[in-house]
């Protein structure tokens, strides 16, 4: 069983609003036999806001976690797109700007830590699709999604500025994953456009506009649900969907799932273990519809001569 050091990040921690993402990752990783060992005593990566108000402090926040992760000698895996960018960006900056690295080293040393810069930072989507692979996942499917139409939403930071595993503007890993589960990935031209991010808090109107465009695009292309790889995207599209409907006089009822919830469902994991009860727009009908359609197909083929 391959082992990874796991960094849930604030939102996906057991105290965070995206805890269902964490639960579903735990359940899925068990089925596909990947061992995720949570980094001990991790602290917030700093995300975008810290870097915009205290540059050196923000790099030090990231460096502390990277230094702790380096001691484990394993790849660092995170489900959060923001953590993924922050750590990869810190690695790149420490490599490219020796003066910055010198200051960070001094600060780390004050806390009894050092960081050589060797930690490979990966997103859980990369681990599931690259290391585990579509074929292995396909073999383990227990509840085929039977053509369920799923909008593959990547958002921004998992693919940009680009630390590796998929194309920055037209990635394909979610599409391939959906197919492996028996679902149908819908065309989704806005799949790598921004949901509004944390500006949902400070500039709600701007962010709602962006979320509205995504829901509209997913809906017009016939999606029955949408999957995301980021806790913030999920919150914006799910918890603020009512605000979008209010502002734009629309009636969207698009279930927004963490992609691991969909994977877990297809792998036969119990819905409570996936935290499906925590989604604001209930996804259970759409998912069961996939199952029901399958049952219907099966019974109609039985009655055929």
């Amino acid at each position: 069983m391959k082992q990874y050091t796991y960094f849930p990040g604030c939102s996906c921690s057991s105290e965070g609003g995206a805890r269902a993402y964490n639960w579903s990752i735990g359940a899925v990783s068990q089925v596909v036999e990947a061992e995720l060992l949570e980094l001990e005593d991790w602290s917030c990566c700093g995300s975008t806001p810290s870097g915009a108000v205290d540059e050196l402090g923000a790099f030090c926040l990231a460096a502390r976690d990277l230094a702790l992760a380096e001691k484990t000698g394993r790849d660092l895996v995170t489900p959060c797109s923001a953590c993924y960018v922050i750590f990869n960006r810190a690695n790149a900056y420490f490599r490219d700007y020796p003066n910055l690295k010198k200051d960070v080293d001094k600060a780390l040393a004050a806390g009894g830590l050092k960081y050589a810069g060797t930690v490979k930072v990966r997103h859980i989507l990369d681990v599931l699709t690259t290391d585990i692979g579509y074929d292995t996942i396909k073999e383990k499917v227990k509840k085929n999604l039977n053509g369920l139409k799923v909008a593959p939403y990547y958002g921004c930071q998992v693919v940009r500025p680009g630390f590796g595993f998929d194309d920055p503007e037209n990635p394909q890993s979610l599409e391939k994953l959906i197919s492996a589960l028996g679902g149908e990935a819908t065309s989704f031209p806005l799949k790598t456009r921004c949901c509004g991010g944390s500006l949902i808090i400070s500039e709600e109107d701007l962010a709602l506009d962006l979320s509205h465009k995504l829901l509209e695009s997913a809906s017009l292309n016939g999606a029955e649900c949408l999957i995301t790889v980021c806790p913030l995207c999920q919150t914006n599209l799910d918890a603020y969907q009512g605000r979008v409907n209010r502002k734009f006089k629309t009636q969207y009822k698009m279930p927004i799932l963490f992609f691991t919830q969909l994977v877990g469902f297809a792998l036969g994991v119990d819905s409570r273990a996936l935290g499906l009860q925590t989604n604001i727009v209930p996804p259970v009908n759409a998912l069961n519809h996939a199952g029901a359609a399958k049952a219907r197909d099966a019974s109609s083929s039985e009655t055929e001569p």
Binding site: C10, S13, G17, A107, R160
Partner: protein, 188 residues
């Protein structure tokens, strides 16, 4: 001549921040602006901001709303044909504006970012506390309008009141590291 000296200083200052030096390569093609989902809400577009930095327009750049409307989606960065790190440049400008006390009063993003950083620096972001404090600090009326969102999240068990805490040793370690960073010129 005064202005010219100040202009050169400002440009030099931005060029010296990691990532800032990439603006030298800008050819003003406007790809960043065309790719930005929020450009139409900004007072100056991303490419205009670069031209303004080069022209030494310190006051206008630092008090611009544009960096606070940046979503950090990195679309500009991946599309730039010259390798300008436009998103990082937005963060550099934001950070310098905070330092210079020039943040625009019309955007709530600086307040939100500072509050976010305050909690991060203690080890973890308590989402509910953070949101509550932000709305109380800026616009309690909006908090009221957002009650349905909060109630839904609470009902689904997604707004925990419990805050994640570091171990006592970890908390001291983090504090020490950040204090050292501050003595090296960090801090906000």
């Amino acid at each position: 001549m005064e202005t010219k000296v100040a202009a050169t200083d400002f440009l030099a200052q931005i060029l010296s921040v990691p990532g800032g030096e990439t603006l030298r390569k800008c050819i003003q093609c406007g790809t960043c602006t065309a790719s930005c989902p929020n450009a139409d809400s900004m007072d100056y577009t991303p490419s205009e901001l670069i031209a303004m930095v080069r022209a030494g327009m310190r006051e206008e750049v630092l008090s611009s709303k544009a960096p606070w409307y940046c979503l950090s989606c990195y679309m500009c960065t991946v599309r730039c044909p010259r390798g300008v790190k436009q998103t990082d440049l937005m963060h550099v400008i934001a950070f310098m504006a905070v330092r210079a006390g020039k943040v625009p009063a019309t955007s709530l993003t600086p307040t939100m970012y500072r509050l976010f950083n305050h909690y991060c620096s203690m080890g973890s972001l308590p989402e509910m506390l953070f949101m509550a404090r932000f709305y109380l600090q800026t616009n309690p009326l909006r908090a009221w309008r957002l009650m349905p969102v909060a109630v839904n999240l609470l009902k689904r068990g997604r707004l925990g009141v419990k805050t994640r805490k570091l171990s006592p040793a970890g908390a001291i370690q983090l504090r020490t590291i950040l204090a050292e960073a501050k003595s090296l010129g960090g801090g906000s």
